[in-house]
């Protein structure tokens, strides 16, 4: 019944078709000079008071980045990005220490309140610990004390560098090396903040962990870095949300997420991506080039990616799993919605190396307006991966006849005992379905919301409850005005 009730609320709330999070917070910001040179990298590292090894890591990445080209294989069209036109560091001016909420700038607290994210632990009912990142810095991480009792480290990346340098040094870049790709190299050079999380052996994290990313300053890029380590037998569910102001210029977001699971550990990573998508004519919006990868290092370990992608002008994103440990499991559940002029090229990679490894891919693409939506996925089974199993299902739903849906599945199977299955469908919301709903008194917009949520249900059900509601609303809002 809970679900039904929420559905109803969602449908009721869908009344405005504007991007709700397009406001700008007026706050003094400290920025790096525009453009990218070695000095920029040094500037950021110095701002963060980083140890020498980390500066070296950044510089190595920067120098490598200079030698490579932006990838062009995705089905995406955009004017060339001028990397010298971007500000690589922007921080709201506030006191350095954030021991209590009183010391966080009220303007920032207000920003997060407007986004529906309360940083006041007393007011949080849902039991979600939040790391709030605005532009290049983390503003506040909640529930740190509660988590510390379990030995869990959950803090901003900058704090981790200061307080747990040995852990950061040990794992940084081990899943996504700086040489991985163009955007990974860029991020490795200029990443500013993000979240760090370590779950010790045998600990089940008692609450959901979450990072909320907000771009605020103009002309800046956001390059956050998230590192999650789940030690033997541990479990954590992690959520990520993001929004940005409505601006006519495109802004670049190039993040890295790295996850490592040891024996019998499990990480569930959920994203609701709602960066500003640009206007109806494709003016403005975030360019979202993200590298997310999980390494199932230990046996019987599991990494599950769930993503709801509704925002950004351009999305280039392939959350992947390397299944190294025997019996390890990788999952990818995705709903990607594009409307108006949005473009998404998204999917996953499942690399089977260990024996008896299993992966599941469920991708639901929804295209409307003049948008383009591509699924791109790789399933690779290595010679040693005996009895590996993969099941992939890639569905596309089209609304209207000016949008595109594309599926690019790549399968490389080098082991005869493995089984790889792939299913794909493309459908349209039929006039029959719409009329059926309308005949029951449900108006067109609500009918589309209902049908689309039904279509994406398999994936939405994988989200933690707090996010599922948000995601369902988003789907409906994103598609408003897409038919008619």
């Amino acid at each position: 019944m809970k679900e039904e009730k929420e559905n109803e609320n969602i449908l009721e709330e869908v009344t405005s078709s504007e991007y709700k999070y397009g406001f700008v917070t007026d706050i003094e910001t400290e920025t790096a000079p525009m453009g990218l040179t070695e000095d920029t990298v040094k500037f950021i590292s110095k701002k963060k008071n980083e140890p020498e090894w980390l500066l070296e890591y950044r510089l190595k990445a920067y120098r490598y980045w200079l030698t490579i080209e932006e990838p062009d294989w995705a089905l995406l069209n955009h004017p060339p990005i001028n990397y010298q036109d971007i500000i690589y560091y922007a921080a709201p001016k506030q006191k350095e220490v954030k021991e209590s909420l009183d010391e966080v700038d009220p303007e920032l607290l207000d920003t997060f309140n407007k986004l529906g994210i309360s940083l006041d632990e007393q007011k949080m009912l849902t039991g979600v610990a939040v790391d709030a990142v605005i532009d290049s810095v983390s503003v506040k991480t909640t529930f740190q004390d509660t988590l510390a009792k379990h030995g869990i480290i959950f803090c901003s990346f900058s704090e981790a560098v200061q307080n747990h340098p040995e852990l950061v040094k040990k794992y940084l870049g081990t899943v996504v090396p700086h040489t991985d790709n163009f955007f990974a190299a860029l991020n490795s050079a200029v990443f500013s903040d993000g979240s760090f999380c370590y779950i010790p052996k045998g600990v089940r994290c008692p609450i959901e962990l979450s990072t909320y990313f907000r771009i605020n300053a103009a002309n800046t890029g956001q390059f956050e870095r998230t590192l999650l380590v789940a030690d033997e037998g541990s479990y954590v569910s992690y959520l990520e949300g993001c929004t940005a102001p409505q601006r006519d210029e495109n802004q670049l977001h190039a993040a890295i997420v790295e996850i490592i699971t040891f024996d019998d550990a499990e990480v569930k990573y959920s994203t609701v991506q709602n960066w500003y998508p640009g206007d109806k004519n494709g003016v403005g919006g975030i360019y979202n080039f993200v590298t997310k990868r999980g390494l199932c290092k230990g046996k019987n370990s599991k990494i599950s990616w769930t993503q709801v992608e509704t925002g950004s002008a351009i999305t280039w994103k392939y959350p992947s799993c390397t299944l190294l440990g025997d019996n390890s499991i990788g999952e990818f559940y995705s709903v990607a919605v594009t409307n108006n002029m949005q473009q998404a090229d998204t999917g996953t990679k499942m690399i089977h190396i260990g024996k008896n490894t299993k992966s599941t891919i469920i991708s639901k693409g929804i295209s409307a307006g003049k948008s383009n939506n591509s699924y791109r996925g790789l399933v690779r089974v290595s010679k040693k991966a005996d009895n590996a199993r993969n099941f992939s299902q890639c569905d596309s739903l089209l609304l209207g006849d000016k949008c595109g849906a594309h599926t690019f599945p790549y399968i490389k199977n080098n082991n005869r005992s493995s089984v790889v299955e792939h299913e794909a469908t493309t459908s349209k919301i039929s006039e029959d379905q719409l009329f059926y709903c309308q005949q029951r008194g449900i108006d067109t917009e609500k009918s589309i919301g209902l049908i689309v949520n039904g279509y994406a249900k398999e994936v939405l059900n994988k989200l933690p409850m707090e996010f599922a509601v948000e995601a369902q609303k988003l789907l409906a809002i994103t598609l408003e005005g897409s038919v008619g």
């Binding site: 559905n7 109803e8 006039e431 059926y436 449900i442 609500k446 209902l450 049908i451 949520n453």
Partner: protein
């Protein structure tokens, strides 16, 4: 008078299907519309409910004293017009429970009422499920997905019971039903019959009319009603077939 259709002409893709259709329905009445395939029975249902692609070239549909031909389908539905579909469509991932809740609340919003409280809604579901003998495991499934023909039709009547329309069109609800399912469907309709509503039952066969006894029977041919009468007319049709109607039309 609840519904008055006057000289209705309806075309699909420029081809005229209804050619001067007239029908008056009062509160408390059940009208049966019979006739061979392709005479415009389903087009009539589509025109009344406002389906896109059915162009009303002339004539009026007066419902509760108002011409409704320019109203959107969902507005007509919320004004109390219901169609039991001949071919109910599947909506994957949307449970009947969720669907009904959304529909009921759309209607309540239209009427300026607050959404239905959960308890009241569930009570109503239970009550109406009994009426058409459907199980909870069906209402928890996605709308019509993988339903048998009989289940689909029962589901239509169940939805009608939930929404309590003032005017309902049953478009060949009997087709594809075995005798038991037919009885269940008919009992459901009979339980809903009252002085405050009216039904138009579109059917090929007089069999359904043994269970849903109509006040009037109309025979449609080539886009209009060619003969009207009482229940006896249905029996006459059963006996003679439709051929004599065709002659009747030609001789008119």
């Amino acid at each position: 008078m609840l519904l008055n259709i006057k000289d209705l002409h309806v075309s699909i893709h420029g081809k005229e299907i209804l050619k001067g259709f007239n029908l008056s329905v009062n509160y408390g009445e059940v009208h049966a519309i019979m006739g061979p395939n392709g005479t415009g029975k389903s087009t009539l249902a589509a025109a009344i409910t406002g389906r896109e692609g059915y162009e009303i070239t002339s004539g009026e549909i007066i419902y509760k004293g108002k011409n409704i031909i320019d109203l959107a389908p969902d507005v007509r539905a919320n004004e109390g017009i219901f169609l039991s579909f001949q071919y109910p469509v599947e909506i994957p991932g949307v449970s009947i429970t969720n669907f009904m809740r959304t529909a009921l609340n759309a209607k309540r919003e239209f009427m300026g009422e607050a959404p239905i409280p959960a308890g009241e809604f569930l009570k109503r579901m239970e009550e109406k499920k009994k009426l058409v003998d459907i199980q909870s495991k069906l209402t928890n499934r996605s709308v019509n997905e993988g339903f048998s023909g009989g289940e689909k039709k029962k589901n239509e009547i169940f939805q009608m019971a939930m929404l309590e329309p003032t005017f309902a069109v049953l478009d060949e609800t009997d087709s594809g039903l075995d005798i038991d399912a037919l009885k269940v469907v008919a009992n459901g309709v009979n339980a809903l019959r009252s002085e405050d509503n009216a039904f138009v039952v579109i059917t090929h066969y007089q069999r359904l009319l043994d269970y849903i006894v109509p006040d009037f029977v109309h025979v449609m041919y080539d886009g209009r009603i060619v003969k009207s009468g009482g229940k006896g007319l249905a029996l006459e049709l059963e006996e003679k077939g439709y051929d004599w109607i065709k002659d009747y039309d030609v001789n008119r």
